[in-house]
């Protein structure tokens, strides 16, 4: 039973004093910040790195998302990043020596009209072209995969079929945070919790320092990876506006059940997804209240909406109880693609934000390439399409059929 033997309870990450100089400061102790720190230390030998986190690691989106991963994005620019991230989970599990609990259960994206089925055909073709497994199945096949699904005609949006993506699945979000933090810390990265960034020092268009509530840090490089707060920090501290709207996204779980749902099921028409966690809870969510705010409060409106959706899609769940409902922040861009940029407006200033609710899926791959970018100053091709300048150049990506900018254009 070798796999059961555990080492003594060593500290996962060390508490260290804040130093006055670091080679890089990463704002945000979430998935992207920690992943970048980890890869900086592991692959580029840059270990004099500080991750500064206002709360505790994994407090924000990292600890609030439902950790669904997939690579069947819509556009050729996005797919490679998500595909590589998907392939990285088993590798990372080994590298970090931490069980990230990847459950490769596959994702079903339900279609409720012939028109939607046709649109999905395009999506599937793009994915297949880029070597990502994805195909269309009909309602009967959906029912075989998910016996609890209601494929009858008498619901608001009858199910016509689905886009089935077997390589996708779910992970344990906290495991990814702690695994990355543990390994980064052991490689020498300093993780400073309860350390709030108060200003960023710039001289001659170059980053020189970061001020925190625990002291000043001199550094030539800063990575903004503060999730929902990135846009506010960028504008308040550097005067750089970002094409971001910060919305509250909610999710909830039911009481734990024995296995009933073996795949991730999602539906655009119902604004809902559902999957079963390893603990047996049905995790579900998707909708966002369409006005920006920084609260992480839930709404009565939404838990009811979600119940109505599940009651139609998976009617046996009517006999199950919701147990916990929470919210996090999503930094939405108009084209549902992130802003990955650096060394452009200010030398040494890097950005990894605007992920909306996709931040979990590709954190590992993004961290790897952002680390390379920060270590070398050179942006790799895979990140180039995500530059901030794409908005002024009218090169928005088509991750959604319509713009998502929460003005009446949408």
């Amino acid at each position: 039973m070798g796999f059961l033997m555990l080492k003594k309870n060593k500290r996962f990450w060390q508490r260290v004093a804040l130093q006055s100089h670091y080679d890089a400061v990463i704002i945000g102790g979430g998935l992207h910040g920690l992943a970048t720190a980890y890869f900086l230390a592991r692959q580029h030998g840059m270990t004099n790195v500080a991750v500064v986190e206002k709360e505790y690691i994994g407090f924000g989106g990292a600890g609030r998302n439902t950790a669904i991963v997939r690579a069947n994005q819509r556009t050729p620019e996005n797919i490679p990043l998500y595909r590589e991230a998907l392939e990285l989970w088993p590798v990372l599990t080994e590298e970090l020596d931490f069980n990230l609990m990847f459950n490769n259960c596959g994702n079903l994206n339900l279609m409720h009209s012939e028109a939607a089925m046709n649109a999905a055909r395009m999506n599937v073709a793009t994915a297949q072209f880029h070597g990502v497994e994805s195909h269309l199945i009909d309602a009967r096949q959906c029912k075989e995969l998910v016996p609890a699904l209601n494929i009858s005609e008498d619901i608001t949006f009858p199910i016509i079929g689905a886009m089935y993506h077997p390589p996708g699945g779910i992970l344990r979000h906290d495991a990814v945070v702690w695994g990355l933090a543990k390994s980064a810390s052991r490689l020498g990265v300093h993780i400073h919790q309860h350390t709030e960034t108060t200003s960023i020092g710039v001289e001659n268009h170059k980053i020189v320092s970061v001020d925190t509530n625990r002291g000043k840090i001199y550094t030539p490089r800063v990575l903004l990876a503060a999730g929902g707060y990135s846009a506010a920090i960028s504008y308040a501290m550097l005067g750089i506006k970002l094409p971001i709207s910060v919305l509250t996204i909610q999710a909830m779980v039911t009481q734990p059940l024995k296995p009933i749902l073996d795949h991730v099921v999602s539906s655009g028409a119902y604004h809902a997804y559902a999957n079963q966690t390893l603990k047996g809870e049905i995790a579900t969510g998707a909708h966002m209240d369409p006005w920006p705010n920084y609260t992480t409060h839930t709404t009565a409106y939404y838990i009811k909406h979600q119940a109505e959706a599940l009651a139609e899609l998976l009617p046996c769940l009517r006999g199950v109880k919701f147990m916990r409902h929470w919210a996090g922040l999503a930094d939405m861009t108009p084209d549902m693609a992130p802003i990955l940029d650096g060394n452009d407006l200010i030398e040494g200033y890097y950005m990894d934000c605007g992920w909306g609710y996709f931040g979990f899926k590709s954190c590992a791959a993004t961290g790897k390439y952002m680390a390379q970018f920060m270590a070398s100053g050179q942006c790799s091709d895979i990140l180039k399409p995500f530059a901030l300048r794409r908005f002024a150049q009218h090169r928005l990506m088509g991750e959604t059929a319509a713009l998502v900018n929460y003005s009446p254009d949408n």
Partner: protein, 765 residues
Amino acid sequence: MNRLEKLPTLRINPAHPISFTYKNKTCQGVSGDTIATALYANGIRIFSRSLKYHRPRGLYSLDGESCNTFMEVDRIPNVCAETTRLRDGMTVNAQNVKGTPEFDLLGFLDKLDWAMPAGFYYRSLHKPAWIWPIALKQVRKAAGLGKIAPDFHIPGKYDEIYPQTDVCVIGGGAAGMSAALAAARQGLRVILLESRPWLGGFFDYRTVEYAGGVPLYRRARDLVQQLEQTPNVRIFTHTAMIGAYHHNLITAFQKGTETDHFDERYIEIQAQSIIVATGCIERPLLFENNERPGVIQIGCAHRLAYSFGVLPGKRAVFSVGHDLGIEAAIDLFDLGLEIPCLADIREDGQDAYLVARLAERNIPLLRGWIAVQAHGKTVKKATLSPIDGSQQRDIECDLLVASAGMTPVTAPLSLLQATLSFDDHTGFFLPIKLPPQVHAAGRLLGLTNSLSIEASGRLAGISAAADCGRQDVSKLNEAREELSRLPGPQRGSKLVTAPLKGRKTFICFDEDTTVKNIRQAIQMGFDEPELVKRFTAAGTGPGQGGIPGHNLPLFIAQTNSDGDVKTKATTVRAPLVPAFIATYAASKHDMCKRTPVHDMQEKAGGMMRRIGVWQRARYFSQDLSCREEIENVRNNVGMLDASTLGKFRIWGPDALKALQRMYVSDISRVCEGKIKYSAMCNEDGCIIDDGVIVKRAENDYYFTTSTGRAGSTVEWFRYHTRYDGWNFYMVNLTDVFGVINLAGPNALRVLEKVADTYLSNEALA
């Protein structure tokens, strides 16, 4: 029936038996029973097996603070037996067992705890890599409590209501009732929510004197009577508050009785002012095997006898930290419970009157003593020790009534964004800052004196009335003075754990988290209560933190070596009581619009589909290929119901200017009586809509849009002209006209018949 029948406090009717099935055997309960009390009366002590270790679990509290009494009832999983009323013909079964709750084949897992330290899953099962996919399947099977069938359909009626009120009082104990009465007497509409099936709270089952020779339960019933005679108070019993949101929006769900038209209903209350009077639950005592069946809380033992007529055991050891424990011992002794001794964590500070009554009954009081271990699968013996652990004494018993103290139920206040802070005197997390229009009253503030509890309720009621515009300064001052003259919060016991030796002291029952697990987590660097909670899962189970909510932060603060970790409560999340998805979804019915030809199309075999807010025929063929239909349109003529398209009239001096801004074409070139096709773009240059524009007269146009944007077109025009102050009117005519689209080579001929005139392409151009 083995029930105590003569007690005036009873909430059951022993004369009305109820039959139900448990483990395929018919059992008897009585009207007023919950499933759990009926089972307990039938001698059942083990109700379930725990999540991880499959340890036997029994009745511990009566308000659903843990999943100890979760059972499968009429095929519904995870039913909380202690808060669900018994109904005739119910089929009850244990869940998460292989065998029976008494003899569970997976019980051996309890011996494997050494292999499953804190964070076990994170640190194992991934090496070698091939092991994980196999382990994953087993982990999934072992996880989860209840089982649900994919074709399961929960029966029953689920309703919803949305009442508005001036004052909403949460908690129907003495403080809540006093508050409701005080607010109602100011002429306001009051809603009172109580999660139990009756009002009364801590007063309901107790016989000690309230004042002037009146016992507490009598006082509670007097208050209930006063409330029932107050027409502006609406009482919801068996109604658990589940959520609280900005602007005093409260959600709750009510369980129906046989006479209600619903089984459960969702209630969303919009209140001006809120009073939280949710009282206290008990803080579990932490000792070895502290969750064995037979270990129960004070209130549970007390209420089993006085509300449900079930003497909870034969011989009970008490280990308590609060006067309510002494009072319960006296009351239960008087009903025939043998009590070899009562250990009290407190060295002093006990109520002298209660101590005297203990002495009268020859019940030894062990001051500064505590239970350190329970023995037996169900309790057979208890080990007691002084709190310094200097000596031990074993006492045989079949019941161990254990409680460390009280825990205020502050979760509703947390959801309402009140600021809570650890209070050294009471050992409670108490509100130090309440948001406007939110008040707190009663036992949750640490008050224990009955008169103080009522007075604080009255003060809250009068303060809430002031929020609603019924300011009565003299009354308010009077209430304040009255409260200040009465005893304030009592000193609370802050002891966290008994002197511990073993490995099986459970801080969270639902997740099988032991005190040892918490220590391990802290050693690994998880020093934030919130991180400890996530890493060990303590408090993330269906009991919503009812068991670990208070002990966990106290224990972490005590255990953490560096002093900079403050005693901090963990986050509270809605729903405070788990609620059925059926209840949340309630009576949702789909609302949609129908076009003028709807019935005709349906009769013709149209496959009706939802499109936006409409129902519309999508096709008429037998299969999706629609070959016949397509060929008929190509070769003959076809008719499409286009009534759902957006239709608008825009007119006024600036109508043309507005159209020019919205459309990509030059609309000024459309002549009177003529029509033009064009598209609209968003500000990023993407086409978002198309349609035709007809010029009716100067600055008077009719235009059409797609179905999807019909609802937002007016708002869109107004948005893009919001800074301009232009003068134009718009009216949405979408629902006014039906539209038929005629297509095919014979379209013109059909149209001629309808129009009764000669038509040609040239004439229409």
